[in-house]
Subunit: 343 residues, 2 copies
Amino acid sequence: MRLRQVSPDTEAHLIQTIERLSRKGILKRSSVVLSIGDDAAAFRAKKGFLTLVSTDALVEGIHFDLHYFSPEDLGWKALAVNLSDIAAMGGSPRYVTTSIALPGNKNSDWVRKFYHGMLELASQAQVRLIGGDTCRSSQGIFLDLTIIGEVKPSEMLTRKGARPGDSLFVTGELGGSAIGLEILRDHSRFARRHPEVTRRHLRPNPCNRIGRFLASRRFATALLDISDGLSTDLHHLCEQSGVGAVIDADKIPVCRVPGSLSGLLAATPLDYALNGGEDYELLFTVSPRLRSKIPGSIGGISISEIGWITREAGRCRVLRQGWSRRLLPGGFDHFAAQPRLPV
Amino acid sequence: MRLRQVSPDTEAHLIQTIERLSRKGILKRSSVVLSIGDDAAAFRAKKGFLTLVSTDALVEGIHFDLHYFSPEDLGWKALAVNLSDIAAMGGSPRYVTTSIALPGNKNSDWVRKFYHGMLELASQAQVRLIGGDTCRSSQGIFLDLTIIGEVKPSEMLTRKGARPGDSLFVTGELGGSAIGLEILRDHSRFARRHPEVTRRHLRPNPCNRIGRFLASRRFATALLDISDGLSTDLHHLCEQSGVGAVIDADKIPVCRVPGSLSGLLAATPLDYALNGGEDYELLFTVSPRLRSKIPGSIGGISISEIGWITREAGRCRVLRQGWSRRLLPGGFDHFAAQPRLPV
């Protein structure tokens, strides 16, 4: 781990603080041979398991704004989006490295707060910080985390296994992150009164427990997380599996918003649920034989059946009150309303 | 892998191009189970080996300037600095993930050129690109690579093993990168005439072969790469090993510069060699018993003995023509000249 933006003395002290924080609440893992402090970290992969690697960046002005993101929330979220990638493989997260580029006006106190937020979630998820690089940026904050996880080869779930006739499920509620963002950005007065709404954007909860449930029981045929929005991620699933999908709009678990806020929003709750993005819920398919095995919720997170997989490769449609419309990545195709529904 | 800054069609095409490039010249590795295209990459760690992980960021305006860095050179260098971290552990690099944040004026052509440069070195080093995240930045380019390597537990070399009496060695020549940077930045007319000088800054060659040589024969007691400059990295080695060091200035392999350039430089070649940074050569210690086993060069890269390890924990000194001076991270301590030399 390197902290290139601070003095050598501050660096040594800060690395000690981060190291101490990073051990808090984490079970002793003898699999880590070397952590923070050398040129690289070293760990021993668990025998018979695959190692999973994913990387996700957050850029100031693109993915977040410091007007409403505290360093603690940013640390939490940067890890959450990476944990979600491991959940989406059915794996268990194990290690994380962080790269942070900071402008000159952000000091070591900012770094400490960022790690506080990040390591709060790391401790919950039993993920260990094993390295990183903190350096200066000429403008704006840039965060990039790499998450390392593990999964048994026979349990790994990809985007590729969906088959025609499979049922489509989603976890939790959709659209809440986009609604939270809009409230934070455009209605900051309401943001303070409704932290339960903005929290979905600032501190998303990745679905690692449900991902492991689906993988360990081999219930799902394909799995991914919803980071770009249901309409876009459903296309990802269909493209990779070579199938199509139909979803029933009335079954989508749309995020509920307090009445006082709903009048402020620029779009309908269904629009946010379909196209909002950053919900970090899971989208998965289940064969007809196992469909009835999926519980209505796990650990307080609801699981909803919202549609099914078809043979029409790459083609997604949405039903509403007997009408069928083509669903494109990012939204409805308003020119493609069809009164009849071929399945 | 995600390319969030381009249209979905361009993304699919670009990912295909990168995927094709990334396989070029790379031996088929059945250990990669899942590469670009899903939520995470998956690989099988080699039995009995440790997995090494390191991450290094490059930020526009801090670590590079597009006035003199082509996208191809930047791709090469971003991977080189990461490969060097694996060399510094005595390990073999295997996989890499890339995160790139790009401002709106950089298009998919820029991304393609960046990957061309990066994958040229990846092919030489037999490293496979297994994932990444490309997104927009509001200002400036941010690059962050995570390299994954492997090493046998008994061969891993850290910064911790140096003992009093060990000899200190460095590979190659030092100071060339800093001199190249100065020429590129302040004397661009000369830069075009002397690509052999600027290449040390733009396209450093990591010392993975020498790192493996030292590790596989168990010749070194401690090893690290010189990224911050000899004076700083020598302190890192001494702090981690709890020792001190004396180096002989006359033995440091100072980078040679064409006569026509030497008059332009702001400092002496020794200053660049001690404090320049970004040379990505290796610094290592060898016990008295094995000292004579170290060859004068490996694969055309020289290896020079420059000093020895002492008991004076954290204290580094440099000798020159019978005089001894304290060496601080970043340079000489000009108030600490000592006429006599206690060892």
